[in-house]
């Protein structure tokens, strides 16, 4: 690998990220750090993947990230939707996740009770 290659990879990676954001109407990002996992992020991630899969929502992607720092509100889930503010949900569990899928992702109504921040 040389500098040119690195540049190429960077450009491609940036494009991929952009493309992914465009392809996906909604991006669900689950915080998967130790605090998150300890408070059940794996189950939450699984629930999102399952619920979205069983509805065949092909324009929704689920990804993971590290911790943001708000350990007391893990598991945290962020929902990115083009043209709309980012909604961050805190203290999630599988049941709450199901509701977020139904109300927020399918029907476009963010679940205000679970939201801890809107950016």
């Amino acid at each position: 690998m040389n500098l040119e290659d690195l540049k190429k990879i960077r450009e491609k990676a940036q494009k991929d990220v952009e493309l992914r954001q465009k392809q996906a109407r909604i991006r669900v990002v689950v915080g998967m750090g130790t605090s998150g996992i300890a408070s059940g992020a794996r189950e939450v991630l699984k629930t999102f993947v399952e619920e979205i899969g069983r509805r065949n929502l092909t324009d929704v992607v689920v990804t993971q990230t590290g911790e943001k720092g708000l350990a007391s509100r893990e598991p945290m889930v962020e929902i990115f939707e083009e043209g709309k503010p980012v909604v961050i949900y805190g203290s999630m569990d599988p049941e709450k996740s199901k509701r977020v899928v139904v109300e927020h992702i399918v029907n476009g109504n963010p679940v205000s009770e679970y939201a801890i921040e809107v950016m």
């Binding site: 130790t34 399952e50 943001k68 720092g69 109300e103 029907n107 109504n109 679940v111 939201a115």
Partner: protein, 527 residues
């Protein structure tokens, strides 16, 4: 897998429960079951849906139809008409649909805008994907260093930035690199200290889990600057996820040729090995860490010679903390003067703090050096839990200092805290409210040190045992008149004569707790 056709949300709050929501819910579930629709229709409880004074409220998705004043008697009809036949039951539909939910913006504080350098990507990118790191200008700093800077220039940039070690001792990073570069010998090592053992500290874990490539890049730059071709990450064995992600990241970097021989077609070669520690507190001390890396018992070494001249296998070795190394790529990429734009004159940059104890939102923040303790607690951590009063904080971990309420406005950076004979240490802040018993706090600190004393030198081995004996009898109301003087005396002797910082640092928590909470501890001991 079954596709759930309809979701029925039933609002369960004080108002709807009074109106009989539980009975409606039960009837609904039973009715759905008796119609054989259990697999197709799910019933979910929710909080208030926003319609008040409308009795029991249900919402049926995907249509989004709101029903109000529902009674158990309505359920068979509702299930039959809407859920079975798909015809909304007009007579129960709420004429006024509650307004679109307005999302309350809870003040979480920790998500408040923070100037993030170290944690820039943490919680943003997927840490298990090198491409995402590269998309965020990852590995551009090492490319810049390799192509446009000599190792000396890289060291100069680090020096100019004023970056000091974030592990606790706050030694200038650029100086450390310079010493190691100038030390004699061809083989040199970069060691990353990820043995985060200070109680209440978990910043390194977060960096490793959230952005492992940043550490790899920081080590690459350090290796280039020092002239090392081998790096080790000495990591806490308990950090399973960090180890997993770091090893994955190293594998990806190797695949991309960002680790290995002739990186980016330069003459620079570097590789990293991850080593697990077994959890001894003393192994956070750099020479004990090196001993442990060599496969020996984790005992500290005599200094000098310092590791920069004689470290791992007697070769010049730089030991840097995770957070320190994570700062490096950004400094190289944006320049020293950019870095100096953050923090204070004497302490530039940011600091990652972990806030635990009696605060509303414990967690981790990255703020500029020099942010006051008051801001950290009240602005970022949401204040004291349950509206209680601030009593004190233990800053810098177990080897740190207790601070009282009159220290709330002290600026948190390495230089400033030193003036108050306190330390920033690893950046752990344990906040205590009015109900905390300071004698108990001190007791747990002393017990921790007795447990962790490695037994190598007499003052620490016997000192910690005596301190525990004294504090135990004080807390069981068998304290003696001169116990407090004894505590101080032993601590003073330990500070002066202990072999390594473990024994030396105990003086700080003891003296500071007596300084701010001496009266309380005395009266508690007399009870």
């Amino acid at each position: 897998m079954n596709l759930v056709r309809n979701h029925v949300l039933i609002s369960i709050d004080a108002g709807t429960i009074m109106a009989g929501a539980r009975a409606v819910e039960k009837t609904l579930v039973d009715e759905i079951a008796s119609q054989g629709l259990t697999d197709e229709i799910s019933v979910l409880e929710t909080g208030s849906i926003g319609a008040t004074g409308q009795g029991v409220v249900l919402v049926v998705y995907p249509e989004g139809i709101y029903y109000g004043n529902v009674t158990p008697q309505d359920i068979p009809e509702l299930v039959e008409e809407h859920l079975l036949k798909g015809r909304p039951l007009k007579r129960l539909i709420l004429s006024e649909i509650p307004k679109q939910h307005v999302i309350k913006k809870e003040k979480t504080g920790l998500l408040k805008e923070q100037p993030r350098i170290v944690l820039k990507n943490s919680g943003i990118i997927n840490p298990e994907n090198i491409d995402e790191y590269i998309a965020e200008n990852g590995y551009e700093a090492i490319a810049k260093a390799l192509t446009t800077m000599t190792p000396e220039e890289a060291i100069e940039e680090a020096k100019k930035s004023g970056l000091v070690g974030r592990g606790g001792a706050a030694f200038t990073t650029g100086m450390k690199w310079d010493f190691a570069r100038q030390a004699a010998g061809d083989i040199k090592y970069i060691v990353c200290n990820a043995d985060e053992g200070e109680p209440g500290t978990f910043k390194d874990r977060l960096i490793l889990e959230g952005d492992p490539h940043k550490l790899i890049e920081g080590m690459l730059i350090a290796g280039y600057a020092v002239g090392a071709s081998k790096g080790f990450v000495y990591i806490r064995g308990e950090y399973a996820l960090s180890i997993e992600r770091l090893e994955k990241a190293i594998g990806q970097a190797r695949q991309y040729g960002l680790l290995g021989d002739n990186i980016l077609e330069s003459k620079f070669s570097f590789d990293i090995t991850v080593m697990k520690g077994a959890g001894a507190y003393v192994c956070g001390e750099e020479t004990a860490l090196i001993e442990s890396l060599e496969g020996k018992r984790g005992h500290p070494r005599n200094k000098p010679p310092y590791p920069v001249t004689e470290g791992l296998w007697a070769k010049p070795t730089v030991v840097n903390n995770v957070e320190t190394l994570a700062n490096v790529p950004e400094i190289i990429l944006h320049g020293a003067s950019w870095f100096r734009g953050y923090g204070t004159e004497k302490c530039p940059g940011t600091k990652v703090f972990t806030i635990i104890g009696n605060v509303t939102t414990p967690g981790l923040i990255e703020v500029e050096m020099g942010t006051t303790l008051r801001d950290i607690i009240y602005e970022y951590a949401g204040g004291i839990k349950n509206g209680k009063q601030f009593k004190g904080a233990l800053v810098g971990g177990a080897a740190g200092a207790f601070l009282g309420p009159d220290m709330l406005d002290v600026k948190m950076d390495f230089v400033n805290l030193k003036e108050y004979s306190a330390v920033l240490g690893s950046g752990a802040i344990l906040v205590m409210d009015e109900d905390v018993d300071m004698l108990d706090m001190l007791k747990s600190v002393l017990h921790f040190f007795r447990h962790e004393s490695c037994g190598h030198c007499v003052p620490c081995r016997l000192g910690t045992a005596q301190l525990v004996k004294i504090i135990d009898r004080m807390s069981s109301s068998k304290g003696r008149k001169d116990d407090i003087d004894k505590l101080m005396n032993i601590a003073r002797v330990m500070q002066a004569t202990s072999f390594c910082p473990l024994g030396q640092s105990l003086y700080l928590p003891i003296s500071s707790s007596l300084k701010y909470f001496g009266d309380e501890i005395r009266s508690r001991a007399r009870q």
